[in-house]
Symmetry: C3
Subunit: 140 residues, 3 copies
């Protein structure tokens, strides 16, 4: 059993859902040394999330953004935490609903994802900047 850990940035993106599987894979060529295990991919922010979803049609990402913005609207009259802008409190709520980290099984040196699965960066802020990620791989 071995462990590998690396911290890096995902480049800045506009608010929305973005397919980042390849950007993450390029950071962790060490994956190839593991025949079996798990990878935890963790985002060190409270206004962005990581999730797994459809890797083919960009319309899915667009519809997820449209839906999420309606599910958690800006400027709700009862919000108290408003001094960081109207997109801030909705970003915190979305961050917890989609979650701060994902776990993916590793098999034969690769992420063992389904054919249609990819990793999404869910950028919940208008100007979130680059996002810091920690990948931890445990396996053999």
């Amino acid at each position: 059993m071995e462990i590998f850990q690396k911290e890096f940035y995902l480049k800045a993106r506009p608010k929305g859902f973005h397919l980042v599987t390849n950007e993450i894979l390029q950071e962790i060529p060490e994956l190839k040394k593991f025949s079996s295990g798990i990878a935890n991919i963790f985002i060190k922010h409270t206004s962005a999330s990581l999730t797994i979803n459809e890797n083919a049609d960009p319309d899915v990402r667009q519809d997820m953004k449209s839906f999420t913005d309606k599910m958690v609207p800006e400027n709700l009259p009862y919000f108290v935490h408003t001094m960081e802008g109207p997109d801030d409190m909705p970003a915190h709520i979305k961050s917890s609903l989609f979650g701060s980290s994902i776990i993916i099984p590793l098999t034969n040196g690769n992420l063992n994802l389904g054919s249609w699965q990819g990793i999404y960066l869910c950028e919940h802020r208008n100007n979130g900047g680059r996002r810091k990620i920690v990948v931890t791989i445990i396996g053999n």
Copy 2:
């Protein structure tokens, strides 16, 4: 420290929330060899989820279905990704809100769940078919 990994199918079920703890446990008798660790249970699809919830009253599963279908309705006028049927885009959204995998601690050869906790397959499609699962156990 040891690792065990297995890929298998959960049988096809109708749209809704289904208690699958026993169906999963039957696939992994190797669990008994681990005195301490974690199990990651991962679903290789973008229109179904795994979650942990109440294992006793089937009404909980019915109410979760009713609520979820109202929270993410079909045929929203702004959906663009519609060519795979009205249940497809809502299924993608639900998939990320409930999540693609769960982690459960292992203790003395068993899943260390609370008395009322069980594993749900959240089937978000009308005809999702059988669902492919990867279980990865790490422990000693």
Copy 3:
């Protein structure tokens, strides 16, 4: 590679979102022995959750409670599981939306959280009582 596991209680809290990072850290001084790894923090209940969110302004926790109570209201006319009180079925739904466990990377003997991240206990019931937690650390 080593594993450490401990089960303990978080003290009872009122319905809402509560910062519990320090209460958890006090239970696991063994964290200091790990230079790299992951920690799984799991809650053994179906009406409370763990999530990661903003650790500074308490207004964030207040707004998350306000929003969550509106997103999953009590007394929905179609709820069937009602015999445990009006806060019970919403608590089950919230439990799965926020999730039963979190994974945090460990680096140099500490939780590798972002500057603004903390661990929330999401207490979804009016009188949930103390909550049982299992922490499992895997690393070296």
